[in-house]
Every structure is written in structure tokens, then in C-alpha cells.
């Protein structure tokens, strides 16, 4: 060790020695845990100890339900690629009557990180934070060595819940606008205003398909897919089932509804029963028309496939959320020569429905189908409202692209949904 280094060493040990004294004199609350690391102070420590993080700030996490505080800091001077800092540890203490309590570690973050979110705090209590810059590594004996330096303590902070997520204001405006259009046109329609709705090929064919089954004296199958009742596609499918079963009741054709979710079974029973009584044939309804098979995707597919092959229905409806089973079902239905009408919002299954079924409702058309089938003006009004929404989106797309292309305004930021 050269003379110069020796001098620096002496100089530093003096400072640290005085620090220890100051520490033990003024901060009695802090016990051994912190000072132990300072015991073995040699040149190696000095060399390996990183500079502390600076400018520690803590603030309540905005737009949340409370219980969370964001701690941020400026990087230690030794935090760069290849620098000494490998990690930051964040410590927290509660502040009661102006007195700082015991610090405990609440988390860590990797080198290069400038903040940490502490989600384990209670609302309306005061806290202070400090951050340790850590240099840890395995030495030649494969023992973990750790050196650290501590930052100053942050100003006290407390967390609280907010009543509104400020950054969702654009979403709020958008959704209110869209709902307004829909409700407005529903109103218009129920006042008797005539609205034009284009033909949906699949829905035009429903009467014909049900009629065909009646002529042939065969069953109709209605498959509502794999979704449970917490799925909008299934709910849309149930409303379509209502219209289809009404028709089936009128034509007096047997409608078979195998389902793979118990809740869907319960709902479908309500729907079919309601439709039969609406069509004036409550007695034709049989409880077992709607029956549960199994919750399992392929158990269900195997069973329904078997039913198709053995009972040879004249008409099959596939409406709702479908996955891989769509192909087995549609292909088998096609091979027995049934008329098939399908509708789903699952893009991955659409090509097979398009290929193997006579008519296919694509995406949004599935949601429009029940309105279309009902021919009820109110429901058709909602389609018009949707279209206005679509128009607004088209205009926004065009204006936005022009503005951004010519560097006038970052229009797309209006549609951001994250903070």
C-alpha cells in the first residue's frame, strides 16, 4: 500500500469514526443492524462501496385506490454500465408524532431503476423512506459479498385513494358519446322513424333453414359455443337463440340445444321456454331440449359430433364463442349435408366457418344478428347508433393521420388509455 493511499485511508477512517459517534449519539433509535456494516471499514470497503442515491422523494401513487406510495431517486454516481451498483434496496419507516420508527426493507429494484412502488402501506399514516445503493457479488470463495451506502431520508408522505382516474377522462368522453348515439337512435326508432338496415345474408336464411328442417322432418341443432355467461358472445348467442327457438316453435320443429356450461344451460332453458310461450306453444317445450354435456372442450366436441352423425339434423346453428372444436363440428355438419349458419367474433375460427358453413356472421355481425332477427325498431336503432360511432372513428382516423403525417399535432395521444 502506497503512502498516498494510506493517508486517504486514515482520512476516511477518521470521518467514518466521527460518523459512528454522531450516529450513536443522535440517533438512538437505530440499533446495530445499520452500524454492523460499518464496523469492518478498510480500504477494500471504500473501494467497493458505491456512491449513495440522491434526492429521495416519496409521493402518493396517483389515480389509485390508496395503499401505495411511489419512491423515486436519482441514480448513484456509480450506477452506469459496468459501475459498482448492482441493486437498490428501499427501506421504510413509520412516522409517529414526528418520531421516525424502525426502518424495514420493503423492496428492491435493479441497477438503473429510479423508482419503486411500495404497495404495502396503510392509508393516512405518515411514512419516510431511504434507499441503499448496493454492490453485491460472489468472491473467489463463492461467498456473497455485499457493500452499500445509504441515502438521506425522504420527506414524510402518506397515501390516499382518489375518486377519479384522471387519465381516463378521454375514455369517459368517448364512451358517453358512443352510448349517446346508440340511445338517441333507439329513441328515434321507437318514435317510429324508419331506419334502413342492409341485408345480412345469414339472417335472411334463418327462416328458410328452419323451414327446411320442418319439411324434412328432422331436428335443428343450436350450438352456443364454449363461452360461459360471463362472455358477451354467449349473451348475444342467447338472444339469437330466443329468436330461433320462437321460429322453431312456430314451425313446430324440434330444437336441440346441447350446451357445455351449466349456467348457459340454465339461461338457455329460460330463453327457449320464454320463446315457446311467446310463440303460443308453451306445451311444446320439453325440459331436456336444452341439455348439459360436459364443460370440457373436446368432451363436448366429441359428444356433439356423435349427435350430428347419428341424428343427421337438417339445420345447424353455430353462434357464440368458438375455439378449435368449430372445425370438427362444422366439418362433420357439412359432411352430413346440413344447412349451417354460423356466427362468431373469434377471428381464428372464421375461416373454417366461412369454408364449411352456408352462411357466416363475421365479428360485429354476430352482435347485430339478434336485433336484425327481431325486426324490433328499438333494436335496429341501436345498430344505427353503432354506425354513427363507426363514422366518428373513420373521421378521427383520417383527420388524425393527416395531422400526424404533416407533423401538426400528436392526435393519437388523445386515445391513450394508460397513464
Amino acid at each position: 500500500m502506497g503512502l498516498k493511499q494510506l493517508r486517504i485511508f486514515k482520512y476516511f477512517s477518521f470521518i467514518i469514526f466521527s460518523l459512528i459517534i454522531i450516529n450513536s449519539t443522535f440517533v438512538i433509535a437505530q440499533d446495530g443492524a445499520d452500524s454492523t456494516a460499518l464496523e469492518v471499514v478498510d480500504s477494500l470497503t471504500l473501494e467497493l462501496q458505491p456512491q449513495p442515491a440522491t434526492n429521495i422523494t416519496a409521493k402518493d401513487t396517483p389515480n389509485d385506490e390508496g395503499g401505495s406510495i411511489i419512491v423515486s431517486w436519482n441514480l448513484s454516481a456509480d450506477d452506469y454500465a459496468g459501475g459498482k451498483v448492482t441493486q437498490y434496496k428501499v427501506f421504510r419507516a413509520m412516522l409517529t408524532d414526528g418520531k421516525v420508527g424502525e426502518f424495514e426493507q420493503v423492496g428492491e429494484n435493479t441497477a438503473g431503476a429510479e423508482s419503486f412502488q411500495d404497495g404495502n402501506v396503510d392509508n393516512d399514516f405518515q411514512y419516510v423512506y431511504k434507499v441503499q445503493a448496493i454492490n453485491s457479488f460472489y468472491d473467489e470463495n463463492a461467498e456473497l459479498k455485499e457493500f452499500f451506502s445509504e441515502s438521506k431520508i425522504s420527506k414524510p408522505v402518506s397515501s390516499s385513494p382518489q375518486w377519479f382516474k384522471m387519465y381516463t377522462i378521454n375514455t369517459l368522453i368517448g364512451v358517453v358519446l358512443l352510448c349517446f348515439f346508440i340511445i338517441f337512435y333507439i329513441n328515434q326508432a321507437s318514435k317510429g322513424k324508419k331506419l334502413f338496415i342492409r341485408k345480412l345474408a345469414g339472417m335472411e336464411a334463418v327462416h328458410e333453414a328452419v323451414g327446411r328442417a320442418t319439411e324434412m322432418g328432422r331436428k335443428i341443432f343450436y350450438v352456443s359455443g364454449l363461452g360461459d355467461m360471463d362472455n358477451m358472445q354467449t349473451i348475444a348467442s342467447m338472444t339469437i337463440l330466443g329468436r330461433v327457438s320462437e321460429l322453431a316453435a312456430e314451425y313446430d320443429t324440434y330444437l336441440d340445444v346441447p350446451v357445455c356450461r351449466s349456467l348457459v344451460m340454465v339461461t338457455a332453458k329460460e330463453v327457449v321456454k320464454g320463446a315457446y310461450s311467446k310463440a303460443g306453444r308453451p306445451d311444446s317445450f320439453q325440459e331436456d331440449q336444452v341439455h348439459y354435456v360436459t364443460d370440457d372442450q373436446f368432451g363436448y366436441a366429441a359428444a356433439v359430433d356423435g349427435m350430428f352423425v347419428r341424428e343427421k339434423p337438417a339445420t345447424i346453428f353455430f353462434m357464440g364463442q368458438f375455439f378449435a372444436e368449430s372445425l370438427i363440428l362444422a366439418e362433420t355438419g357439412n359432411s352430413i349435408g346440413a344447412i349451417q349458419i354460423a356466427g362468431t367474433a373469434m377471428p381464428s375460427q372464421l375461416p373454417f366457418f366461412v369454408a364449411a358453413c352456408d352462411y357466416t356472421l363475421i365479428g360485429e355481425e354476430l352482435f347485430a344478428a339478434s336485433s336484425y332477427l327481431s325486426k324490433e325498431p328499438k333494436l335496429l336503432g341501436s345498430l344505427k347508433g353503432q354506425d354513427i360511432g363507426k363514422g366518428v372513428i373513420l373521421v378521427a382516423l383520417i383527420i388524425g393521420v393527416i395531422l400526424e403525417t404533416f407533423n401538426i399535432w400528436n392526435f393519437s395521444s388523445l386515445f391513450s388509455v394508460i397513464d
Binding site: 333507439i186 348439459y292 370438427i328 367474433a345 363475421i362 328499438k378
Partner: protein, 216 residues
């Protein structure tokens, strides 16, 4: 009562769940958590109905000696078999080494994985019999499918070995997926978004009410 209360429940619950998106403050912040718990519990109760329904239909088949009644008996036996074992096994029924786990590994997986894999055969059959270039649209569908299928396996690049790096079938497939395909998907997605909003709204407003038993 029979119709008004459900409509009321749907409306109130629906509106609260729309609001919870904007308000982080309790109790709104807890709503979706509660719903997920409640839904799980309701689901668990509802499956009793489903299972009873399946048992009833199978049992009637056996009792009336309808055609294929033997298979209905197999359904009943295998259902009871796994249910009794699973329920008696306790909370850790799924851990490796349990009887339930054995049933899962050697009965359930082979069955469902095979059912899944025979889709490959149906795909091939559908390709041969159903995918026809009937018109321009269908032709476009097939061409896109060709390039993607070829571009996504090593053999595709082998077929166009003469093309320079960066212009091979795999690059073309990537382009199709990332550009026109993504544009189409996006249009479908936006459409679905509008459809969902509109249907949800109709349900919440009580205009669409078949889920609680049809029209009137």
C-alpha cells in the same frame, strides 16, 4: 316481481361495473374482485345442475333401454368414478402422485389431446373439399394462406433459394402477418368493440332481455 327485479338487478350491476372503470376509490375498486369471487361460487353451484341433467338423461336412456344405452351406463360409471375419487382426495387433489392426477394423466390427457389432434385430419379434409377458389375473395384467402403456410416452415425458404436474403418466403409471411393481416384484424376488433358496447348497453337498458326468459 319475476321480471322487474332481474331487470333492475342487471341495470344497477351493469352501471356500477361501468363506473368502476373510472373510480379507483373503494367500494368501486373492489367490485370486480367481488364479482369474480361470486361468479366462481355461482359457477360451482350451477355445475350441480349440469351434472344432474347429464345423469338424468343418461339414466333415462339406461332405464328405457334406448339404443346405445350401454354407453350411457359407461358415462354414469366413469362420471361417478372420477367424482368420488376427486372429492375424497381433498384440497390437494391435483398434486402429482394422487389418484386424480393419474386419471388426469392417463385417461383425460390422451382423450382430449387426441381429440385435439384429429383436427389436423379435418383440416386436411376441409382443404381438399371445401376451400375452393369460387371467386376473387376466396382466391385471396387461399393465396394468403399459401404464403403464410409456406413462409412459416423452413421448406418455404428452400423453395425460393434463388431469392436474396430478406426477400424470402419467410419474410413475405412476416409481412402478411404484420401488415394486411393486422389491418384486417384491427377492423374486426374495432367492429367487435362497437358490437360489444352496443349489446352491453341494450342489456343494461333492458331492451335486450331474452336471458331472463324472452319478450314479455
Amino acid at each position: 316481481m319475476r321480471r322487474e327485479v332481474p331487470l333492475f338487478i342487471t341495470a344497477i350491476v351493469g352501471i356500477s361495473f361501468v363506473i368502476q372503470y373510472f373510480i379507483p376509490h373503494p367500494p368501486f375498486s373492489n367490485l370486480s374482485d367481488w364479482f369474480s369471487d361470486w361468479f366462481s361460487i355461482i359457477q360451482a353451484c350451477a355445475i350441480v345442475l349440469g351434472a344432474l341433467n347429464l345423469m338424468k338423461i343418461s339414466f333415462l336412456k339406461v332405464k328405457d333401454k334406448k339404443p346405445d344405452w350401454g354407453y350411457a351406463a359407461v358415462i354414469i360409471v366413469s362420471f361417478l368414478f372420477i367424482t368420488i375419487i376427486g372429492l375424497s382426495e381433498g384440497e390437494g387433489f391435483r398434486l402429482p402422485g394422487t389418484k386424480f392426477d393419474w386419471i388426469y394423466n392417463f385417461i383425460f390427457i390422451p382423450l382430449s389431446a387426441t381429440m385435439f389432434s384429429i383436427l389436423a385430419f379435418f383440416v386436411a379434409s376441409a382443404s381438399y373439399r371445401a376451400f375452393r377458389a369460387r371467386n376473387f375473395e376466396a382466391t385471396l384467402l387461399l393465396i394468403a394462406a399459401f404464403f403464410v403456410m409456406l413462409g412459416r416452415v423452413p421448406i418455404g425458404d428452400l423453395l425460393v433459394w434463388f431469392m436474396p436474403e430478406g426477400y424470402q418466403l419467410s419474410n413475405l409471411a412476416s409481412w402478411v402477418m404484420n401488415v394486411p393481416q393486422a389491418a384486417g384484424q384491427r377492423a374486426i376488433m374495432i367492429g367487435i368493440g362497437l358490437g360489444v358496447v352496443s349489446t352491453s348497453l341494450r342489456v343494461i337498458l333492458g331492451i335486450e332481455r331474452s336471458h331472463i326468459g324472452g319478450g314479455e
